[in-house]
Symmetry: C2
């Protein structure tokens, strides 16, 4: 970009900035008046009704995996019905499934009672969803979790990840799930535990962008690499594919390196940056011993190891950077802007080769904006995030305008726009992150919902709107609600997943599993009492457990059923203990019997006609023994 | 009932019992083959689609309040769309709303991380839903919670309630919400803490039926009265109304007083009992000093105070006892039976007056079955629970048959039957517990759901089916899914509730609330650090908190917004702290700053265009101060 052009751009952007603020205020004013399109205004309500209706007994075409934000959960819905089907607990205990109550899941949670789930990512093979795992990042406690889509259960939680604070810039996967991207939204002095004055933020705080390594066979996650960055706020990311395979991209805001009231201090500059990391070169640099270990993770400093990371100027305060299905473009959207920029990967590579730089940040080269951009697409106000269909179209969420713009990759023509309500954040199209998107459906994930549903008091849910993108014009189909707070979602064709419903007996490797009521019983060793228990329709064996006050009691419960939906629960009265044992599963409960008395336990999860009769008693001796009236 | 009749009945019942077992096995076999009615078989799919479709921006007609079972939550859906709208956390922490993380809600939860929500009950005035409160009982930890329907928040948790173990027999309200019914599903030696051998269960363990008192102005719950009962398992209840006002009814099973494998030992007798309690007489007896205090609650012993409680023989292993809208009948359904019994309140009162008893249990008179029953209605296999419409019809769930039977009160004619899938437990009709049910809709709460939805692994949701009961024949409309495990639900007309969306500033009586950023700040007193904080679009004030390692930090956060849906969250990185502060609310967070370092905090709940910029830093001094590489 020449100096003159830059000046013009800055002037335009300033005016735009002022305009954007007015529009924001206007949009909020409009929202407050409560006007909303009626069914008639929307048109085709009957068509929308029949095309989203899934008759009792029929199933949906797509799974929608919603991030559950600070609920710590992932929500599963069906599309096109948009019906909530299931909740997968990840970073928070969930007694409905007993998650966080048995020893195994308690250990995985590591003492944390919540997380802030942001961006679900289905694992990929050759750039296509392979339906094996779903990764979700935790913005609150800097963790990454892996859900196995074979049984829809959380299998591993990695973290808190050293050196990363505010793990927002994930979980985006490389085309063969070699890495899940990670980044620091909040810069801190490193290593963690160090304190530096906030006044020296610009020089003594650091950002990090990183790749978490995934074992291709098991999905086991481990600390991969990290790159030390200036103290920007790294926001969202995406992995390259095809011609851009081997690259990872992240947006950043607060490139002002400001503190305080960021809404003012971090919106001073006209442009922020996209960081482009060549992770294949990073791998080589780590192998060549060029990384330093910080808190157990190999960290590369771009000042010392050049050629790994470049910065590309981007519209002010960007959110999404999204790689097109063919891997040729990455789309950068600044939320305080009315254009979105399509950057060209080939041009980026040429600019790097030619050292076509317009500056640097802490030694990291800044590529010349005009040399890398292919087009500025006039999508509308507040572009945030872009997804794609099968016909070479892109769909960009317009946060300020509360709309979705459809535009053409290559011709850069805006083809259609549809209003959504209100304040869309992310959007997702069917298989929209893959090399082969399906088109057909788009889900708009809207951040506010007031007036869209029956009033449920001050704590309002979020709104999601299902849009038909199968035709030339987008058509509004349905509106559903979900818990706070879907930041992103992914849509995968139902037939790509084949979950099991029963854990095969032969797969249960728990040494304390038992499969016959004859093996059930209570064994005492000093003050340690071990119970091996069977749960099967419709009783527990043993149904009586006698212990002394102060004993440490460990119960291994095996649900010996091999029939689908035959779950059993084990709830212990006035103790904080409830686990749910799926067919073929063994779970471990451990507690100190510190209260004398007689405590019933019972099956909490419906199992049969005689479920209500499935109960037993824990007798904790050491209290009184008469019906004393006082 | 004469001896000959009784013998005949017993013979019939034995054959029936054997038949029922075969039917159960057959039903499970049918279920396993996966056959289900298609949309075409159901007929009228297009009509069902349009009649359940709620276009974007339109709202539902009814609120459906589902019990969330061992999730500890209440779920809110809209009818007819059956869309999930909101989750109300009650007995379990829920980081999505910050419930269980601030000092106020943490205290209310009392250290418990779960509960087993069973039967929601909307408060009533003159036998009609008044839309003020929703009560839910906790079968696991013997508690009762009150949700305020003004803001959909849990306001009080009473318990664990002394002397009650397995609080299943609630929460059913008397016609002016004088009491919420309570009962022991599991008998234990009393007072709690006492241990008696399980072998002496029949004589040394006790059941309890009870009324929890509700303050008519504030809804404040307190221990009302309790009645000492034989060690039966008390199951479900209902309150009388009209001619039966002043009476409370509970079913009981295991009147064999058995232990061990209850599925066998507690199903020996041909009949179990309904307990009928005259709570107005109970009030007089308590006032007359006839109660003994056990663990702080006035308990009446029917052996010593006659005239309070009567037993009525009922079909084997009953679940529901349901009072008709006019209060003339109570319907008792035994799940191992093919008939449901309509008992006549007038006949009951006559039998009591005439001492028409067929025996007694621990001194409690057993009324003669034939003197109290009006009709045995041949509804079908496995009747569980009955609800009503506006036309004098009753609807009984048939657990074994997986169907709903519609039948006429008075003529006792079965008018219609509709299959549901699978294994319906409770059902609910629109305002079906009131003196004026609406008819129109019925929701079948089905206990199993396999094959009805996209496969989500072994932990399957429950299924609910919406049925149109507005016409002569019932019509299947829709199927939705919810978390484990709805035991009961209630449907209330949407216009009966007028929840607030913002807490008016003038209602905030928290002495630590502040409404101006000028009043925000940090005050140290020894090692206690108190922060008064304002959250407002889009910053925290103060945005920097500096403390020393080991300090006890208390933060009072006020969200000074007075605009709907303008929630703010406060999440503290790598600490276990997240609260959500609704507009006009003040919340308290307390923690010991035991880890040195710099910890970002940020707004977790979307609030504005500059939400992403709403952040600050906690600096905990006492660690290192250099970027040490190791």
């Amino acid at each position: 970009m020449s100096t003159t052009e830059a000046k013009l751009d800055r002037t335009k952007l300033k005016w735009f900035g002022a305009g954007a603020v007015c529009v924001v205020l206007f949009a909020f004013a409009v929202m407050s008046c409560g006007k909303r399109p009626t069914a008639a205004e929307l048109g085709g309500a009957a068509e929308a009704a029949t095309s989203t209706y899934v008759a009792p007994g029929d199933t949906d075409e797509y799974y929608l995996f919603y991030s559950g934000g600070h609920s710590g959960n992932v929500y599963v819905a069906g599309v096109p019905s948009m019906r909530h089907i299931s909740t997968i607990p990840v970073f928070a205990a969930y007694p409905a499934t007993g998650y966080g109550f048995d020893e195994e899941s308690k250990k995985m949670l590591g003492g944390f009672g919540w997380g802030d789930v942001h961006h679900p990512a289905i694992s990929e093979t050759n750039g296509d969803y392979d339906g094996r795992w779903l990764f979700v990042n935790d913005n609150a406690n800097n963790r990454l979790a892996r859900i196995d889509l074979r049984d829809f259960k959380t299998k591993q939680i990695l973290g808190p990840i050293p050196n990363i604070s505010g793990y927002h810039g994930g979980s985006f996967v490389t085309p063969n799930t070699e890495y899940v991207l990670a980044a620091s939204r909040f810069s801190v002095p490193l290593p963690k535990g160090t304190v530096e004055p906030l006044e020296e933020y610009a020089t003594k705080y650091n950002g990090v962008v990183a790749g978490v390594k995934v074992d291709p066979k098991t999905g086991e996650m481990s600390h991969g690499f990290q790159i030390l960055m200036p103290p920007f706020n790294f926001d969202l990311g995406d992995a390259g594919k095809g011609p851009s395979e081997g690259w990872a991209f992240w947006t950043s805001y607060n490139t002002e390196r400001a503190t305080g009231k960021l809404e003012v201090t971090s919106t001073q500059k006209d442009r922020d940056y996209i960081a482009a990391v060549n992770w294949k070169e990073v791998e080589k640099a780590v192998a060549a011993g060029k990384a330093k270990m910080i808190s157990g993770v190999p960290v590369l400093d771009p000042k010392e190891v050049p050629g790994l990371v470049y910065l590309i100027p981007c519209s002010k305060s960007p959110h999404g950077v999204d790689v097109s299905p063919d891997g040729k473009y990455f789309i950068g959207s600044g939320k305080l802007q009315s254009i979105t920029t399509a950057f060209n990967v080939e041009k980026m590579l040429t600019a790097i080769q030619k050292k076509d730089f317009s500056g640097n940040e802490d030694g990291i080269p800044v590529l010349t904006y005009d040399s890398v951009k292919d087009a500025e697409v006039n999508v509308g106000l507040g572009p945030l995030h872009t997804q794609f269909d099968s016909e070479g179209n892109a769909y960009t969420s317009l946060f300020v305008e509360s709309a979705v713009a459809k535009w053409k990759l290559g011709s850069w023509e805006v083809l259609d726009k549809i209003p959504v309500t209100y304040n869309i954040g992310h959007l997702c199209t069917a298989e929209g992150d893959t090399v082969n998107p399906d088109g057909k459906y788009l889900v708009a994930l809207n951040k506010l919902s007031h007036g869209r549903h029956l009033n449920v008091g001050p704590s309002q849910p979020e709104s999601s709107q299902l849009i038909n993108i199968g035709g030339e014009k987008m058509k509004m189909l349905y509106e559903a609600f979900t818990e706070p707070e879907p930041h992103y979602a992914q849509l995968i064709k139902a037939d790509k997943l084949k979950p099991i419903e029963v854990y095969p007996k032969e797969e249960n490797k728990n040494p304390n599993a038992i499969w016959d009521v004859k093996d059930a019983g209570v064994v005492r060793n000093g003050t340690n009492v071990t119970v091996k228990m069977v749960a099967v329709r419709s009783s527990f064996e043993p149904y009586k457990i006698e212990v002394n006050k102060g004993d440490t009691v460990t119960i291994y419960i095996t649900n010996i059923e091999q029939t689908t939906d035959e779950l059993h629960g084990f709830g212990l009265n006035e103790h904080n203990l409830n686990v749910v044992i799926d067919p073929g599963e063994t779970k471990t409960i451990k507690f100190v019997a510190d209260k004398p008395g007689v405590f019933p336990f019972y099956c909490t999860n419906f199992c049969s006609a005689l479920h209500q009769e499935m109960q037993g008693y824990l007798l904790v001796k050491g209290g009184g023994s008469a019906l004393a009236m006082k």
